[in-house]
Symmetry: C2
Subunit: 340 residues, 2 copies
């Protein structure tokens, strides 16, 4: 048969194959902000194995559940969990309505920026602050406060909005997984409502795939108006053993991939690892004091001790941030030689 295309069209096709297609291929290469190190290799090998229909490890799309911790895994968590900084700012913003706070700890310590007194108030003190700033209002009012703060507040070290202090390599991993028909979830100690105010826009994770700590709420129907009110009582603490519990309650399937960064993620990783078939367990290890922070076994925030031992002994993927990530934040300049 003669070639059915005139010369000009053939030339056009040749151009397409030699110039354009390689660029497209390059643009589609997953995880560009990851070095070609062991972590990137293990992620891609896992995804290829469970999505290949001819593989013994194939997992049908409906069961491709991937869960991610948020603080320290998808965004930074220093010098304190960002949501705690929100709570401190909310105490200051609403102090005029609570004159008693001027003389009552731990609120007095927040108002006076008294770090020593705040530290002395311990976990009980922090829970009082979170309770006072996260309840006693409708869910819609809380969403508005959180959104306003996230728009206006700036990180003390970088001067950036908190929603920009997200990890570019993890954003790419979320996108990569979704392109392979994974359903990506957040499972984190943060307040569910707080995380939902930004997770869809920032991570591409819709509200129904955000699982976190929750407060007891009550339905109210007054004067024809329906609302849901947050009460000052924690319903579920989504940390440690609370994570597999909430995964079972909300998702009802065991994840095949879990990513965390601290001992608070250990049980979620164990629960994921304990299922049948191929599994992926990953830990972000904060090793980069220059570009982010470096901390693990002795840290008050994001302590990574038992989970690091278990990861090392069981062959889970530990991501050494300093050596595995070309870039930390989306606002960082691309590293030399990085494909854009």
């Amino acid at each position: 048969m003669s070639n059915p295309l005139p010369h000009r069209q053939r030339f056009g096709l040749a151009l397409l194959f030699t110039l354009v297609l390689p660029l497209l291929a390059h643009a589609n290469e997953p995880l560009p902000s990851w070095h070609d190190g062991p972590a990137k290799k293990s992620i891609i090998a896992f995804v290829q194995a469970v999505t290949d229909q001819s593989s013994k490890d194939f997992v049908r799309p409906a069961e491709r559940i991937a869960v991610f911790d948020n603080d320290g895994t998808l965004w930074s968590e220093q010098p304190a969990y960002f949501e705690l900084l929100f709570a401190f700012d909310e105490v200051k913003r609403t102090a005029a309505q609570h004159p008693e706070w001027k003389t009552t700890q731990p609120f007095k310590a927040v108002l006076e920026n008294d770090h020593k007194a705040l530290a002395a108030s311990g976990m009980d003190g922090l829970l009082k602050i979170v309770g006072a700033t996260h309840s006693g209002m409708t869910t819609e009012a809380f969403d508005d406060y959180a959104k306003t703060w996230l728009t206006q507040a700036r990180h003390p070290k970088t001067g950036k909005p908190y929603t920009e202090m997200i990890f570019q390599p993890m954003l790419e991993m979320l996108d990569y997984l979704r392109s392979q028909n994974f359903k990506t979830y957040i499972v984190s100690g943060g307040d569910t409502g707080f995380m939902r105010t930004f997770a869809e826009q920032v991570y591409g994770i819709p509200p129904e795939q955000v699982i976190g700590t929750t407060f007891v709420t009550a339905y109210q129907f007054k004067d024809g108006k329906a609302s849901i009110v947050r009460l000052p009582k924690v319903a579920h603490n989504d940390d440690g053993p609370g994570k597999p519990v909430s995964i079972d309650a909300v998702i009802g399937r065991r994840p095949i991939l879990a990513f965390g960064n601290s001992d608070g993620d250990l049980q979620m990783l164990q629960w994921t690892a304990a299922g049948p078939g191929k599994r992926f367990m990953g830990l972000v290890h904060h090793t980069d004091a220059k570009r982010e922070w470096a901390y693990d076994r002795q840290s008050d925030i994001g302590r990574l001790d038992k989970a690091l031992d278990e990861a090392n002994s069981r062959g889970w993927t530990v991501v050494d941030m300093a050596t595995e990530w070309r870039r930390i934040y989306p606002f960082d300049p691309p590293a030399t030689g990085q494909v854009q």
Copy 2:
């Protein structure tokens, strides 16, 4: 320009348009088991309005959340909630391990089929039976018991497996909504784990879109084995005001469509109705004593009283089962003139 297609191809296209396309259109017509009555018309009008990009009522796919009660809305609920019949059978199955039940109410009443004594034990008695049969085991063991029962048990009136006593018109509605990019959820008083054992296969609703009553659970890690154990304490009662509460907690978006059949669905319907933009609120009204059951205002099970008044006064869609549905169950013969 001359017609670029040879005669034979043009004839083929003409044939396609005159013969084949109308058949395809017919096959795709939604809700074939619904009569062309007011309910079907209101469902289709709503779906068309919120999915038409040029409509002022357009809702983007991510926000097309539809919630359905289960008992009495997606399947029958007479002579008792099917899950309660499961609990009674579980008491009998495990009685040998609980010799004390022979002399302790309400278990004695179940073992002796003593309906009078069972009724006298009231709601407290029923909760004891549900607690004893739904807890004290791992989530996986419970799933196995529920699946076994659903496979083996038969309904006392129809002799059919309970999972076949589902409403064909509602299955079609679920399919129709999903074809229009709605996300369909169950929000029901039944135990979440119980409903998840059949919802995916029977309704096409995956585990993560099943919301129900939950028991407190605990994560256990013993001898390298991870499990989640059900404890004999209700964590959330997903009935009445518990429904908007769980919708907010699990989905985090307000539905734009809600369907129920009893006063236990009233708050879910109110919460749905209270959002901005176009909304759909529906009630299945059990009016067909011949093909199913007829009950409403005075019924112990599935009482439809306040919600019926509110539906009538606010113009919600009330589905008169006897006049709106051509067919009740998938195993019913098609009604005369019904398009298959």
